[in-house]
Symmetry: C2
Subunit: 485 residues, 2 copies
């Protein structure tokens, strides 16, 4: 416990919410700059609370948050420790100078704490409900290997050259065919800009649509943090807009908004589908205001009931929509391939932004994917995985009903790789997540996807990804989780 005496935590004389924030921040900084070493045991919350003169609840909440962020680990019965799995590069002396301050040569990244605090991935657990990760156990890697070898042979036969920033023509052709067929997204190969996953798509779109310090970008009330960060890093003024059971509340959009980021097929993270009325209203709004809609269609290939609603891109008549797709969920994230279906006015700028960012993507993966799609393997794999995920989803719904009824209220949703549920007990979601982690269950709290996870009115719920967990494990895991509530 000794090292904590040197942490020199200084607390403002403010309200308890600010206190919590401050305790959380200072502990995290101490971990990041190495004053609290990996493996160090933390004092009991009661003891530390006493020493710092804050309430034990504040201390508990700070620990919970650090646990849910992966900075701390709870060893059942043995106390709380600094995680020893922080990547070495993200630790201590490497992230800040000895003074703990930003080197004056560095420019801030505009994302609060971004150049100091890394994003931590939660640990793998026995029962892994992390969201956004597919099952690759059934992926036909043998076919991929064959197509990849073939692509490599073709590369070997041509003289070396740099490639098209827009993406390999064969891949754009294949993607256009795929999304035209599966999502009725009207496009040709010319409309496709290949990106390094959805994250690069967000960054490039921000680059061509955001005037730093001026452009207002709307995101949904609960949002995908990396999307918001891409916008913030580009200098956008990000406004959070309420959503309800029909999706984004279009009438709550600030009038000065220029870019609107939505996940209409399967709202991230709640899973709600945007209603047809809202879709129409959003497009009318964009048309009237000359605003741009970024439609993030990240996992709608997996649909389990009902007919898919038309993509915004399909309904758009004013070239307002930039449609973003990814192969991280339908194939595998190591591939790092996504795309934008861009309206004509945005395309050249988007391609040029990619050229400025990294010129073009690696050719081999693009060519292999082009062949994989063109030969029908993607469609086949999606069909196969839809059955696998469908069975897991059924098992999950059943288990949540059986073990969680009255405490976990499932949010209706027909598609995607995860389900969400509201917590209807008094417990805060990050506390549940912490206890679950100690019991070998990993899952994200919904509050993590809010602007202010600590706000008293932050959403309170849990998301259950079923990409990584086996069907046979689901019932047991949910039973154990429900027992913790």
């Amino acid at each position: 416990m000794e090292p904590l005496f040197e942490l020199a935590i200084r607390l403002p004389g403010a309200g308890s919410r600010d206190l919590l924030r401050e305790v959380h921040r200072q502990l995290r900084d101490a971990i990041l700059d190495g004053r609290l070493q990996p493996g160090a045991r933390l004092p009991a919350t009661r003891a530390l609370a006493g020493r710092l003169g804050v309430s034990r609840n504040t201390m508990l909440a700070a620990y919970d948050l650090l646990l849910s962020e992966g900075y701390l680990l709870a060893r059942p019965g043995a106390g709380t420790y600094v995680a020893d799995t922080l990547p070495r590069s993200r630790r201590g002396r490497t992230s800040k100078g000895a003074s703990g301050r930003r080197d004056p040569r560095l420019v801030p990244l505009n994302v609060p704490g971004a150049d100091l605090a890394p994003t931590l991935q939660p640990q793998r657990a026995r029962d892994d409900f992390r969201v956004g990760l597919p099952d690759i156990g059934a992926f036909p890697f043998d076919i991929w290997r064959r197509l990849s070898d073939r692509a490599l042979r073709r590369i070997a036969q041509e003289p070396a050259d740099y490639a098209e920033p827009q993406g390999q023509a064969a891949l754009r052709e294949a993607i256009a065919g795929h999304v035209s067929f599966t999502r009725a997204v009207g496009c040709t190969a010319d409309d496709i800009v290949v990106t390094a996953g959805a994250q690069q798509a967000f960054g490039l779109l921000a680059r061509i649509l955001v005037v730093p310090g001026r452009t207002v970008v709307a995101v949904e009330q609960l949002f995908y943090p990396s999307l918001r960060e891409a916008m913030t890093a580009a200098g956008a003024k990000v406004a959070t807009v309420p959503t309800d059971v029909e999706g984004l509340c279009v009438d709550r959009l600030p009038p000065e908004v220029r870019v609107i980021c939505v996940t209409p097929s399967h709202q991230f993270p709640t899973g709600v589908a945007m209603s047809p009325q809202r879709r129409a209203a959003l497009l009318a709004f964009a048309r009237a205001r000359n605003a741009v809609v970024i439609e993030d269609d990240y996992d709608s290939e997996f649909r389990f009931a009902g007919r898919p609603l038309d993509a915004l891109q399909t309904l758009d008549r004013a070239e307002s929509v930039c449609y973003v797709g990814t192969f991280s969920k339908s194939l595998f994230p190591a591939l790092r391939l996504g795309f934008v279906v861009a309206p004509p006015w945005a395309r050249a700028a988007l391609v040029r932004a990619r050229e400025l960012a990294d010129w073009h993507g690696p050719v081999l993966g693009q060519e292999a994917l082009a062949a994989f799609i063109a030969e029908g393997h993607l469609a086949r794999h999606i069909r196969k995985m839809r059955k696998v995920y469908g069975a897991r989803r059924d098992a999950l719904l059943e288990a949540l009903e059986r073990h969680g009824a009255g405490r976990l209220e499932v949010i209706p949703s027909d598609a995607g790789l995860h389900l969400s549920a509201w917590l209807r007990t008094g417990t805060r979601d990050h506390a549940v997540v912490e206890h679950a982690a100690a019991a070998g269950i990993t899952l994200p709290p919904l509050s993590r996807f809010a602007l202010d996870p600590l706000a008293p009115d932050a959403p309170n719920g849990l998301a259950f990804g079923y990409g990584l967990i086996d069907e046979s494990q689901i019932d047991g895991a949910i039973r154990r989780l429900a027992a913790l509530l």
Copy 2:
């Protein structure tokens, strides 16, 4: 010739240099927005000059420039045509609205004309002296395929996950070993940030070092255009600093400069090596002013005489240097892998900038490259290619001496994948390049790498890449080129 009547070229009543610029710009715009269709024949320079009321020399210079940029093609004896090889996506209606103006929803990219005018790659020719492209004919693709298959098998065995933004640990380990050994760059795996080629390295460094509209970035008098564009796009105020036979004139650096971009091993494009005195002076300058040096070491693996000079990174004692390396020259550009050796204070920010930009690179290529380096194949390939390139370089030097003496003055250089020479005739380099293209020889004019290729004092010379051309072709090509001078 009819379409030109509709081009509505309007010329300012200014000096002839502005006239040339204007004619060039308006013709290029007409090609880009489709008013001049691919394959369309242009009027003879004399006729068009008469019609527009400019001198024939101005018209000739505008055509030359468009020819050297690849917008036009000369068919010997048959006139001048709009290139029909513009990628479809970069043509006409797709790059601008019908009005020929930027859509109001787009934010300018800060790079003049960037969202309208694409960068064109010159056409492949029989005798191809393009710079920056390696010979992959002798690359051991069979080994690569084996390592790639092995990496894929490993990926297939793990549950899906996103990877480290900093790069795969095995690759960072391998790169650190490689540059420590070959370039005496002192670093460990922790210091390496893997990037999508050098271009992404420049973009990320700009992101963390440049305050838009304020930070002054120095580039060499002749520079790699994509580096300058990355800086300009990030909002840097770019200053061009003279170079001489010892490299960058450190005493000409503006006092307010914060970032200095140099190619000390093999100045791009002249090939000059920065002298030890200048290296020391540059590091002293950076230390005294708290400025950052970006050392772009793009092709120094190929050294043909003398001992390599220490890298700036090796000499640096003030954590001033960010060292950028690439595998596009030593391996192949389709791989799209490069790296930064970053000083400790910059590392976390750089990793976070990459995470914001595209999260991480594709895993497969990184793992294959890690094994390729670790098993000694990279060192072996470089040794083999050094002999191949050395022989070509000798043939080139001999041919330039034999056929070009008095007209082409070779710039001394001991390393790299290309040589440069000053033109000592009255002819402008872009005119030579145009005539050479008509004779089946592709090579870049040195003026292309100046801030203002049209300035009367722009450098006048040619660069000769020997990555793509066979040794046996070199003498004949240079003989034919010399005959054009």
